[in-house]
Amino acid sequence: MSHVVELPVVAPPTPAGWTPPATTGQSIAPVVERKLIPAGPAYLAHVKRAVHQLSFEEHDKHAEEERKRLEALNGANGNGEDDLGVGDEPEGEDLLSLDPKEWKKQDHYAVLGLSHLRYKATDEQIKIAHRKKVLKHHPDKKAGVAGDSNDDAFFKCIQKAMEVLSNPEKRRQFDSVDPFYEDLEQDVPTEKQVKSHKNPDAYFFQVFAPIFEREARFSRVQPVPMLGAVDATKEEVEGFYDFWYNFDSWRSFEYLDKEVNEGSDSRDDKRYTEKKNKSERARRKKEDTARLRGLVDLALGLDPRIKRIKQEEKAAREAKKQKKTGGAANGVNQKQKEEEEKKRAEEEAKKKEEEEKVARAEAKKAKAAAANAAKKARRAARADGEA
């Protein structure tokens, strides 16, 4: 029943003494002829009912179907209505109280309400999100609202966020140091954690799949091979590690550069800051490469598939040998010994490598310290000279 009129009246209770009067068999008063004005949707409905000989209920059903069809049609051609999944994110108090002066520290995606999409947001989505936010937070809209009408701080934040995200280069720089992922990068599980888990194999995939998915966004080469499942073939697994050991990352750290002091015109000062920024960038990049490498090392060490592949290889070789030697026990022993030898050599090599790495790092540190010391000394000497 459509068009139900809600009446505000409350009818009194039926008196106990009331008995329904007997029906008199009377029908309603005679009807009169009238001429309708052929206008409006109501007339159309009236005509449709008459032409298609529909009852009110049937017509309601038709109208409902028609409405749904139109709705679907409108939704399909996306005429301005479709926001490409930008949606509406709640704006917390701390988000709205952001300081536009501290724009470098703000999460631009959160400001535009795109924190569910982040680096995945397309340019179109960013545009839509920006428009939505501007419509809501434009200072003109707040003119009549009580409170500080000059408070357009958040609007400035929105503009800053748009400035960063709409420029591909600036967006790349921000994506490189996205604070949201920065936090996630910190909690990579240790070897111990994985191994002590009651089901280490499943846990490995559960933990590392999203990590690699996340890291894949930095790759210059797309598509990036993903971790895959536990039953991946040898080629797949090898391809995966091969790719990740030769990872070509676009990640860079210009975003964290220290601003050149605006007030000073000193060329030296500027050059100094620039130099510092450059070295800082290089250091960060190196650290990041090392971090990724460590991550891949960790994954390789824990990957249950590697063990399986090794075992399979071993079994295959053994089967081959057995076929060849006809199952000589001596051969097996020999083989085992060889295996052990190899393992030991490998381990040693690894250890050595590790040590070398440490040594290298140490050496670097020492070098840096030496350089620093030299610099200090130079400076001191200069100071002395000046004095």
């Binding site: 002829e33 001429k35 052929p38 007339y43």
Partner: protein, 633 residues
């Protein structure tokens, strides 16, 4: 170099709008307005390129130029003989049918020299001389010795007379309206709905349709003005504030420039038919103008001691002054409608080189216009009585036309109507182009109707039949309607009123059939968890009680003055015929304020023959009772 595109020739980067390119035109005798669908598919009245939403129905010829609309109206001052106004009312009329007695200050209507019995206008125009052939770069062997590369200057335009039939004038005007709409939309217009007055006969409709066809636009429908008003007022989204039900009796007051048209409509859930109509050409905006310019002319005479008689004026000088004043008071009227303060009227060199500036406030204006308001009120009374109704039966007043924007008119009418009548002024929808804005209402209604018609398909025979039902005089337009109000009566012990209980009207009288109405209401549940009600036919009426006014002490000496009685009106209700009674058990009663209450839904279905089917359901899946009453044989 790549081929460059001319500016603006590139495709629009995004689809502009999915709304169909249809327009609505309110084509009055004096003014026209255009409405289009905006992005939200709502109706919007648009301005033409002069920025006018109210486009004067006037065409003027001056030299080589042709002016259409409000610019043409200004030509009435100096170039009245070549200015054509008031042509709509002559559409489809033979020359012999046109009363010739009216003195005009515009181009006179004449008999067409060639076509028999056809009304036409004669205007003096300058015909542009044909452009000379461009000089050829290649001089032929037989070139004249004086051949030069300088273009031959155009010769002087030649003065000629041009004879235009009423239909041609209409075509020119409609074309300009459609052009304005196309410029606004940026697309070709596919269809148009044009409003017509109630008195338009078949001849007039045919003539208008042909004129529109010549203008190159498809007419979807010629819609009666009352119909456009209904569409515009009923298609507005309903809000909680609306006190008006979906079933109402509507009074359409169309006070245009050239006449008054009244319609009393029964609007039942958007389905409307006319109960009575009345048209009166003695009052209107022109009459208001007449009074106003007389007022200002008097003031001018008083101020400058220069005699000025206007409306009607006899001297050519006075005629000029009248035309000037007429243009000036247009502005004065609008200012008065828009603001509560005084409005000025300024004319430079009104007569004998004397300037005039006068002011009038609303009170003074209403005083001057009182006879017109009273006349309208009287006509409304005549209309209501011809429909067998009282003024108190009117639920809503809709104003149409520029002159109906005057708040004084509403005040004058409201005095006679019931207190809870809804007018655009009480609803506050007049200002700012709201739903009730009288000047744009019809055009907006027309475009909404055009939108509706544009969605109709033509695929199957049935679809074609649906479309045909919008043509004038289609069989589906004649319907049966109820004559009494059907409703529920909840019996009550010791009821105060004569009915003996709570009356709930469901199907009002004058409802087109077939009709379905459903109401939902709360019912208190007494002992025995039984809910019962009776179905009655009732007769609504208005009781008028006349009372002598309370005598005041001081009145004693004015005995000779006729005692005026105060009329108090009251809506009454009489039970007329008992139809049936229904009872059902309340299972879903709930406690509200310590008393048991349940929600009841009752649906009335009246079929075309007058048979009634009643369904009563207790909400939330309670008991359901049905009952059918056969129609009278």
């Amino acid at each position: 170099m790549a081929a460059t595109k001319a500016n603006g020739s590139a495709d629009a980067p995004i689809e502009v709008s999915s709304a169909p390119a249809v327009i609505g035109i309110n084509f009055g005798n004096s003014y026209a307005s255009i409405a289009v669908l905006n992005k939200e598919e709502n109706a919007d009245c648009i301005a033409n390129e002069d920025g006018e939403r109210q486009i004067a129905c006037a065409i003027a010829f001056h030299g080589e130029e042709m002016y259409i609309g409000n610019q043409a109206k200004h030509q009435l001052v100096k170039n009245s003989q070549n200015t054509i106004i008031g042509f709509r009312n002559l559409l489809g009329k033979k020359f012999s049918e046109i009363p010739a007695d009216k003195p005009t200050n515009s181009a006179p209507v004449i008999q067409h020299p060639d076509l028999p019995d056809t009304a036409a206008y004669k205007v003096q125009v300058l015909q542009p001389a044909p452009t000379p052939l461009p000089t050829s770069k290649v001089t032929s062997a037989a070139a004249t010795p004086s051949a030069s590369n300088v273009a031959t200057p155009r010769s002087e335009p030649t003065p000629t007379t041009r004879i235009l039939t009423v239909s041609e004038v209409t075509t020119i005007f409609l074309k300009s309206l459609v052009q304005s709409a196309e410029d606004f939309l940026g697309r070709k217009v596919h269809g148009v709905v044009i409003t017509i007055p109630t008195w338009f006969g078949d001849e007039q409709k045919k003539a208008l349709e042909e004129a529109a066809k010549d203008a190159g636009v498809a007419v979807l429908q010629l819609l009666e003005e009352a119909g456009a008003a209904v569409v515009a007022t009923t298609s507005a989204p309903r809000s909680d504030k609306d006190t008006l039900g979906e079933d109402r009796t509507q009074l359409v007051v169309d006070l245009g420039a050239s006449g008054l048209e009244l319609s009393l409509l029964s609007v039942r859930q958007g389905l409307a038919y006319s109960l009575a109509t009345l048209s009166d050409h003695t009052v209107g905006g022109d009459a208001i103008d007449d009074r106003l310019i007389k007022f200002f002319a008097k003031e001018f005479t008083k101020k400058t001691k220069t005699p000025l008689t206007v409306a009607p004026a006899t001297e050519p000088q006075d005629k000029r002054a009248e035309a000037k004043l007429r243009l000036a008071v247009e502005h004065t009227k609008r200012t008065l409608s828009a603001s509560t303060g005084a409005a000025t009227c300024s004319v430079e060199s009104l007569k004998d080189g004397l300037d005039f500036t006068g002011a009038i406030n609303r009170l003074r204006f209403d005083m001057e216009m009182r006879p017109i308001y009273d006349h309208v009120y009287k006509q409304v009374q005549v209309l209501a009585s011809s429909a067998g109704l009282d003024l108190y039966d009117i639920d809503e007043v809709v104003y149409v036309g520029g002159s109906a924007s005057l708040p004084g008119l509403d005040e004058a009418l409201a005095a006679g109507l019931s207190e809870d009548v809804v007018t655009p002024f009480t609803a506050g929808t007049v200002v700012g182009g709201g739903v009730g804005d009288p000047t744009t209402l019809l055009a907006r209604g027309a475009v909404l109707q055009a939108k509706l018609l544009a969605t109709l398909g033509e695929g199957s025979a049935e679809e074609r039949e649906v479309k045909a039902a919008f043509a004038p005089g289609h069989a589906l337009q004649s319907v049966k309607a109820t004559t009494r109000t059907l409703g529920l009566l909840f019996p009550e012990e010791g009821a105060e009123n004569a009915l003996g209980g709570q009356w709930v009207p469901v199907v009002l009288r004058e409802t087109a059939l077939p009709a379905r109405r459903a109401v939902r209401l709360d019912v208190e549940v007494g002992e025995g968890a039984r809910v019962g009600f009776e179905v009655w036919e009732a007769k609504e009426g208005v009781k008028i009680t006349k009372e002598a006014p309370p005598k005041l002490e001081g009145d004693e000496d004015e005995e000779d003055e006729e005692e005026e009685e105060i009329e108090t009106k009251e809506k009454t209700l009489e039970k007329e015929a008992f139809l049936a009674a229904l009872t059902l058990e309340a299972h879903k009663a709930r406690k509200v304020d310590g008393r048991l209450r349940t929600t009841l839904e009752v649906q009335f279905l009246v079929n075309e023959a007058g048979g009634l089917a009643i369904t009563a359901v207790e909400a939330d899946g309670g008991e359901k009772v049905t009952l059918a009453i056969a129609p009278a044989s």
